[in-house]
C-alpha cells in the first residue's frame, strides 16, 4: 500500500469516528454553516463537537503548518482529506475569511510572531475576520481607495468608510486597505489589521435585492490602530491585496460556484416529472439543462485540474481570474435555470413551503457573483493582459 493509500485509510477511520451523523447532512440554512468567532452560538452539540475534533487534528486548515494550527498536510494529502470528507458528505467544520483570505496572506507576508498570534485563533474558530477593501467610490478601480490613516508616531488614526464588507456586523477583526501616502497611488496603501470593537468603528447592514443583508457599510471615525498591526511593509499593502485577491478568486471559483454542482436536469427530473420516453417533460428546458450540465461537469474537471496545478505551482498565476470568470458566470446561469424549472412556485418570496423564498433570493444573490471580488469584465481584462499578453490591455 502506498503512503497515500495508508493516509486515506487513516483519514477514513478518523472521519468515521469523529464526524457526527448530523454533520453529514446537507447544509439547509445559514445557521448550519459554522463561522466561529467571539459571539458564535453553536446551532447544536454536533456542530461544536465536529469543530473541536477538527481543531484538535488541525483539519480546519489541513494544509497549514502545525505551529499555526494546521495539520501540515501535503497538497496530495489535503486532496485525499477533501475527497474523503466529500465521500461521506461531511460539512465544512469551519468557514471563515480568516481561513480563505487572511491566512494565505499571513503565511506569505507575515512575520513569525504574526503567524503564531493571528493564525492559531483563525484555525480554532475563535476570531472571525472581515475584509475592508471596496469603498463607495472605489469598486473595480480599487486602488483609488481614500480611507486614510494619519501617522501619529506609534499609531495611525484611520478615517473613511468601506462598503460591501461581508458580515462586518458579525466580525471580530478586520483586515483593511488604508491609504497611508496620498502622493503615491499604488505604493501608498498599508494592509492593516484591527479590532472591530475599537472606538470609532460602526457598521450598517445594506439591504440587497435578495431582501437579505450579508454586506455592510463600515465607517471609521478617528479609529486608532497601533503601528505594529499591519502585514508586509508600510505603503506596500497593494502587493498583499493583489495576492489575496488571487486567493479570493480561487475560493469563489473553486468552492463557491460550480465546484460541487450536481446535474441540474437530474434534480429537476425528480421534482418535475418525465414523459413516456423517460425524458424531462419540457423538451426545450431539457435541452438547456443538458447543455448546462455539460458545462458543469466540464467545469468540475477544470476545477480539479486548476487546484492540482495551483497547489504545485504549475498554474499560471493569473489563471484564478479565468476560474472566477467561468465559475461565476456558470453559477448565474444555473440559477436562471432553477427559476425556470421552479415556475411560479419559485417566485414565492416568503412562503413556508419555499423556505422563505429561498430560490428567488438565491437567484438574486448570484447576480453579485460576477461583481464581487473583481467583475467579470475586470477578469477578462486581466486574462487579456497577463495570460494572452495582448497589447495596451
Amino acid at each position: 500500500m502506498s503512503e497515500l493509500d495508508a493516509f486515506r485509510t487513516e483519514v477514513r477511520e478518523w472521519l468515521e469516528a469523529n464526524c457526527p451523523a448530523e454533520m453529514r447532512e446537507p447544509v439547509r440554512d445559514e445557521g448550519d454553516v459554522c463561522w466561529g468567532g467571539r459571539d458564535w452560538v453553536f446551532k447544536n452539540d454536533a456542530q461544536k463537537q465536529w469543530l473541536e475534533a477538527c481543531v484538535a487534528k488541525g483539519y480546519t486548515v489541513p494544509d497549514w503548518p502545525k505551529p499555526y494550527g494546521g495539520a501540515g498536510l501535503t497538497p496530495e494529502q489535503t486532496k485525499v482529506l477533501k475527497q474523503e470528507m466529500k465521500r461521506i458528505h461531511a460539512r465544512s467544520p469551519l468557514d471563515s475569511f480568516g481561513i480563505w483570505m487572511l491566512g494565505p496572506a499571513l503565511l506569505q507576508f507575515g512575520t513569525e510572531e504574526q503567524k503564531v498570534e493571528y493564525l492559531n485563533p483563525i484555525a480554532r474558530g475563535e476570531i472571525r475576520w472581515c475584509q475592508g477593501y471596496s469603498e463607495p467610490g472605489s469598486g473595480s478601480d480599487l486602488v483609488s481607495l481614500q480611507t486614510f490613516g494619519e501617522d501619529k508616531g506609534d499609531h495611525w488614526v484611520v478615517n473613511g468608510s468601506k462598503i460591501w464588507t461581508s458580515y462586518a456586523d458579525k466580525a471580530d477583526w478586520i483586515f483593511c486597505l488604508v491609504r497611508t501616502d496620498k502622493a503615491n497611488k499604488y505604493q501608498g496603501i498599508t494592509f492593516m489589521l484591527f479590532d472591530m470593537a475599537s472606538k470609532g468603528v460602526t457598521t450598517r447592514p445594506i439591504l440587497l435585492i435578495s431582501g437579505n443583508s450579508p454586506f455592510c457599510e463600515t465607517f471609521f471615525d478617528d479609529v486608532e490602530v497601533p503601528k505594529t498591526q499591519f502585514i508586509g511593509e508600510i505603503n506596500r499593502g497593494w502587493d498583499v491585496a493583489k495576492y489575496l485577491l488571487g486567493h479570493e478568486r480561487e475560493m469563489i471559483s473553486g468552492g463557491g460556484a460550480g465546484g460541487d454542482m450536481v446535474s441540474i436536469g437530474g434534480a429537476f427530473a425528480k421534482a418535475f416529472g418525465k414523459n413516456a420516453a423517460g425524458e424531462l417533460d419540457d423538451p426545450i428546458l431539457r435541452a438547456e439543462m443538458a447543455a448546462f450540465d455539460v458545462d458543469v461537469f466540464a467545469y468540475r474537471a477544470m476545477g480539479e485540474r486548476f487546484m492540482d496545478m495551483w497547489k504545485t505551482g504549475r498554474a499560471h498565476p493569473a489563471s484564478s481570474n479565468m476560474m472566477k470568470y467561468v465559475g461565476t458566470e456558470l453559477n448565474k446561469r444555473r440559477h436562471e435555470l432553477v427559476m425556470s424549472g421552479g415556475g411560479s412556485e419559485a417566485l414565492e418570496w416568503d412562503s413556508e413551503e419555499t423556505k422563505g423564498g429561498a430560490r428567488a433570493r438565491g437567484w438574486l444573490r448570484t447576480k453579485a457573483n460576477s461583481i464581487e471580488g473583481g467583475t467579470s469584465e475586470v477578469m477578462l481584462n486581466v486574462i487579456a493582459k497577463r495570460i494572452l499578453d495582448l497589447p495596451g490591455a
Binding site: A287, A290, A384
Partner: protein, 372 residues
Amino acid sequence: MPLYHNDDQAMLKDSVAPFVAEQAPVSHLRKLRDSADATGFSRALWTQFTEMGLPGMLVPEEHGGLGMGHMEAGIVLEEIGRNLTPSPFLSTSVGAVAALARAGGTQAGRWLPAIASGEAIVALAIDEGAKHRPDRIASTATRAGNGFRLDGKKSFVLHGHVADISIVAAKTDGGITLFAVPKDAKGLTADPRRLVDSSLASHVTFDGVEVDADAVIGEVDAGQDILDALLAATRTGAAAEMVGVGQGAMDMTVNYLKERKQFGKLIGEFQGLQHRAAHLYGEMEVARATVMKAQQLLDEGSEGAKLMVSVAKAKAGRAANLAVREGLQMHGGIGMTDEYDIGFYMKRDRALAEYMGDVHYHIDQVARMNGY
C-alpha cells in the same frame, strides 16, 4: 492522480510536438489537397510515425505495442489537431485498437501487431446515415455456411477506401456483432467522398459480403461492449484532436491581434476583441481539462468514464467551434481567403465535430445518463 501531464507524458509531448510541427504542418495538408491526393494521408509520414512507435501506443505490449493510455494518445492527437495533420491515427491506433484489445481473440492476435508495426490501416464502419446513431444499426450479418453474410450501407468511413480491414458493426440474431472485414472482400464497395476538410470518407456498401466465422471480433451477439469501447476511445480521441484544432486556431488568432493594425492601433488593443479572446481562452482551458479527465477515467477503467467522454466530446466541440469562428471573424477579410490557414481550421473542426456524435448528440447522452 493529478490532472496534469506527469514527467513521462511531458517528455512525450516534447518529442511529438516538434516532430509533427516540422514534418506535417498545415502546409503538408495544403500540399496533399492541391495534389488531389487519392489516399487521404501521406504513407511516408505514417512510416515516420511508425519509426517513433506511435501507431502502437495503445497496443498492449504482448502484441508488440507500447501499452500506453488515452492520456498519451491524446498528446499525439492534440498535435495532429494543432497542425491539421491528415492521419489514420485516430481510427487505426485509437478506435480500432480499443475494440481489438477489448475483444481479444483471433482478430486481436492478428491485427494488433500489424497496427503496431505500421503495416495495417483500419477503418471504422459504424454510421449508416448522415447523423451518428450507433443505437440504430440496421446493417445485418446472417449466418451462411461457415461464417456470415453482411448486408447494409455504412457512411462517414474515414480511410474506408484504403484500409486493410474495416471494423463493421452489424445486427445479428441476439444483438450487435463486430466484424473485421478485409478490403478485398467480394461484394464490398467503398466509394470515397472528398469532405470539406479535404479528408476522404467512404460510403461503404456490403452486398452479400461473405466472411468466415473467425472474422467476428469478440463473440457473436456480444459486440455492444466492444463497440462501446471503440466509441469511447474514438470520441475521446476526437475531442483531444479538437482541443488541438481549437488551440491552434486560437494561438494563430491571438498572434494576429498583436500584429494587425487598424485606426493606428494594434487591433489587440481594442477591448471588444480582448474580452472575446479572453473568454475563448477560458473555454479552451475548460475543454482541455475535460478531455484530460475523460482520458484519465478511461485509463483507470472507471465507471464514470462514459459520462465524461460525452461531456468531453460536447465541450471540446463547443470550445473548438468558438475558436475557429472567432478566429475567422477576428482575421477579417484575409480569413476568408484560401491562401490563409485559418479557414483550414474551421473546416477541420466541422468534420471532427460531426465524427462519432456531434455536440447535440452528446448533450442528449449526458441528459440520458443523468436520468432525464
